[in-house]
Symmetry: C2
Subunit: 337 residues, 2 copies
Amino acid sequence: MTIKEIAQLCGVSRGTVDRVLNKRGRVKPETEDLILRTIAQMGYTKNIAGRALTVKRDEPVIGAVLCSEGNSFFDDIIQGFHNAISELVDYGITLSIRTMRGHNVDKQLELIDEISDHITALVIQPINDPRIAAKIRELRHQGIPTITVNNDIENSSRCCYVGSDYQAGGATAAGLMRLITGGEANLAIVTGVDSLMGHIQRLEGFVSHLRAICPNIKFVDCESGQDNPEHSYEATKRMLHRHPEIDTLFIVAAGSHGMCRAVIDLGREDIRIIAYDDVPSTQAMMRRGLIKAVVCQQPLEQGYRAIRIAFDMILSDTLLNNEQIIMENQIKIAENL
Amino acid sequence: MTIKEIAQLCGVSRGTVDRVLNKRGRVKPETEDLILRTIAQMGYTKNIAGRALTVKRDEPVIGAVLCSEGNSFFDDIIQGFHNAISELVDYGITLSIRTMRGHNVDKQLELIDEISDHITALVIQPINDPRIAAKIRELRHQGIPTITVNNDIENSSRCCYVGSDYQAGGATAAGLMRLITGGEANLAIVTGVDSLMGHIQRLEGFVSHLRAICPNIKFVDCESGQDNPEHSYEATKRMLHRHPEIDTLFIVAAGSHGMCRAVIDLGREDIRIIAYDDVPSTQAMMRRGLIKAVVCQQPLEQGYRAIRIAFDMILSDTLLNNEQIIMENQIKIAENL
DNA sequence: TTGTATGCGTTATCAA
DNA sequence: TTGATAACGCATACAA
């Protein structure tokens, strides 16, 4: 079914059908009715091959906003962005990235405003705050669809979330814990930050599942590592001083490198560690045998998929509604890095 | 850079440039030279948005040949095919699948011949035989590019291999073995079939890496399971009778379900098992706790990527040369199935 | 040996 | 309120 065929069926011209399809008005109500009915009946959808040609002329820009500075985990997500964009040069698509350090809401709003007037779609790692949600709704009102990546945000009417299931990621770490300990351990945990929903959900998934499958693992101690190596180093050191019987460590967020340094400094390389994300510093510690296994969330794929979905919406000229693309939680050990 | 621009630069018409690009002849040598030089200089590549429109008229067919019957692992690969094809309906691409049981070379040649006259590209899980390689070379000569999927074949001049690194998959299983045994075990192995290169490479990767990292793991016994549950059942039973001290099992190929049944029948559910691929029967045994972990090769993604690459070649109208798309070896436990 | 005209499906512009 | 026409980039039949 093409516009031409619809036009012929209705006895009108392509132009008229186009005006109906793109809601440009200036069409007699009866004609519009007829066209809409035949479209519904014949199941017309825009042909993306045809769209591709005209999209090119618009030179659409996909905007991206990330809290990525100082966190090497996001290097892969950004690489995924570029991988996708490089496939789309022939469609005239370009990327406009804005990054920031930390999780300041005002700053993120500022970055969005900086690009919102010249973008066709937005990909964002949102801070979970009502003002951000409101901004995303506002953009949608202006016809700019948003894809959340890596973290999701509630009540934002974003079109699609691309990221991992953090709760399941926690449970997966618990399953690994059982495998490497055999169900007996004195465990201490370094947690992340409260302002990131993902960290909370991971911890919840880990603790509840581990309780269920390993009643003999003792939760000895717990401190926050603030999502960075420095705090994680200090937290680990304090806990090991308080509780020398600790033989297993779990870290919920970034900062595993700090944890490992503490373990090395205290001469406790017998301790088994489970962490998240195979960033370079973590990989080094896995090769050294300190971190036994990590759970990963396919950041490269997250970035790639987010851009592709933005592009698909631009091309098909339809907005997704509350979709979710959930990455599998991948387990990595030194051998399959 | 478009054909039009090239034509203008050379002071000729689009038609002439087209004749050069598509090697149709009937062009004065000097003109051809000029055009080829400017094309090289300006870095012209066909615009895929423009190609998309004309490709549609050709209604290209991608052919697929698989030794998949009776092996549920391939269900996911085929699903991946369909996922990709469903994204390509607007380009007029269709799929023509032929499947067979077992690994008979004559049969596979027959299937290829069945479809070779009406396909634009071939996706195949090749039997590693010189006659198959010769056939693939012949197709390439006819302008039909081949993508090998899941298994590769030497000296075939296939354009691209999409599949896993079996050697690394073996090493990954060895790494898992260390994690769950702590480096002490009496191990028995059920191998696959000799005619599949992947099975040999996996075994090699597993044994050599395990020897290196776990000198205290004893290789107690070994039998072939013939890539199916029935043989694996019998092989496991025989080995456990011969060597009751076995406490760990590793199976290289399909048939883990048979191995698990043997272990259950003999009342030896204390035994730890590592296997490959999360097919439904394997998943069931993981949930039951018998199989501790499996190494997977992303069959869904393999199928999807193979078709997309075939499509990309059709669209860009260029043949890849000896590319490799290697899937990561994924570790799965009950928690991240 | 070369150029011109037409079409693929969508969209924007202009004329009616 | 509507229809005709040109344009995007590529491909090809046909005319010169």
